[in-house]
């Protein structure tokens, strides 16, 4: 190998090392992304802070998964919108949440990357009003939902 070839190899190897390092650092599990981007408000146990308008997950969150409007709402929750996660990461985190805190005997439809992308494209004018529209309808059907205090 001549010295020019060695120089080229060095550059290629250094680029490969950097790309590998970035790829390894960029990927996080759904559990880690939940803690990093959601648990600050919803807590590591998903309990939220009802008095501060942060709803609790355990036993309730699956109701939103099994409702068409509920799925749209979930994709427009401010924490989801502002999390800075990719569509595939959002679907993984949402599915992690429902698997962990949904009612144990209730079957739910998991999010796909495609559905996350599609629902995020749909405009939602007022996310609070959308939530009340969903919860009022579900309440009439006898579904119990957590306290929600936003005016």
């Amino acid at each position: 190998m001549n010295h020019k070839g060695a120089g080229g190899l060095l550059i290629v190897l250094l680029l490969a090392v950097q790309l590998l390092s970035q790829a390894a650092a960029a990927e996080r599990s759904a559990a880690a992304n939940y803690i990093l981007r959601c648990a600050g408000c919803h807590g590591t146990e998903g309990r939220g802070v009802a008095s501060a308008g942060i709803p609790t997950f355990p036993g309730y969150v699956d109701e939103f998964f099994n409702d068409e409007e509920g799925r749209l709402y979930l994709m427009h929750v401010p924490g989801v919108v502002g999390a800075g996660l990719r569509n595939d990461e959002i679907s993984e985190v949402m599915n992690y949440v429902v698997d962990r805190w949904g009612k144990p005997n209730v079957e739910v439809e998991h999010f796909t990357t495609e559905e996350v992308g599609r629902l995020r494209q749909q405009p939602v004018k007022d996310v609070v009003l959308l939530r009340y529209s969903i919860t009022d309808r579900l309440a009439k059907e006898g579904v119990e939902l957590p306290e929600y205090t936003w005016p």
Binding site: A6, L14, L36, A39, S51, G79, G82, G84
Partner: protein, 178 residues
């Protein structure tokens, strides 16, 4: 991953050594200096490769072991007064205050094991700040205010009954890559 890195670095070392020896045998020092000068001048014009300093990137490897120093690794994404210099400790609120119910969570690299950890920065609420306490503003991974979900310049006591900010603790929640 580290063994692969070691192999790559060994390969680079060997290639560098070989090419350096070959160059030394073929060129005089003046020739080397002339060419090196051209290379260094050219390198200044080449844009630096982007480096990911976001939450997904590796945190800076802090070296201090002093928990009361802002460069201590667990404080890498902190914005506030250290509770350890406000009458509390690294992980516990001072007497007369309560931990915030919501918090900022960041990612910090532990220089001892080179792993990234998720760290919760809970504010302690209910008393005025201690003037002599150490204020840290590292906030690694934070983004400007128009990215609200990624912004840490917030009083995390907002969800507590008593919203007065006192200081901030750094609590490790676990390894980031789990």
């Amino acid at each position: 991953m580290s063994s692969m890195m070691n192999r790559l670095f060994n390969l680079i070392d060997k290639a560098s050594e070989k090419s350096t020896r070959q160059a030394a045998q073929h060129y005089g020092r003046r020739s080397f200096l002339a060419r090196a000068g051209t290379v260094f001048a050219g390198a200044m014009l080449v844009p630096v490769l982007p480096f990911d300093r976001s939450l997904g990137g590796a945190a800076f490897a802090a070296t201090t072991e002093d928990e009361n120093d802002c460069s201590y690794w667990k404080h890498c994404a902190l914005d506030g007064n250290l509770c350890s210099t406000s009458g509390g400790s690294l992980t516990s609120c001072p007497a007369g205050t309560e931990a915030s119910k919501v918090s900022w969570i960041g990612t910090c690299r532990n220089p001892d094991d080179e792993k990234d950890y998720l760290v919760s920065y809970n504010d302690c609420c209910g008393r005025a700040t201690v003037p002599s306490s150490t204020f840290c503003f590292t906030s690694e991974g934070e983004r400007p205010g128009y990215r609200m979900g990624l912004h840490n310049d917030i009083n995390w006591c907002m969800a507590n009954t008593n919203k007065g900010y006192h200081c901030t603790v750094s609590v490790v929640l676990g390894v980031a890559n789990t």
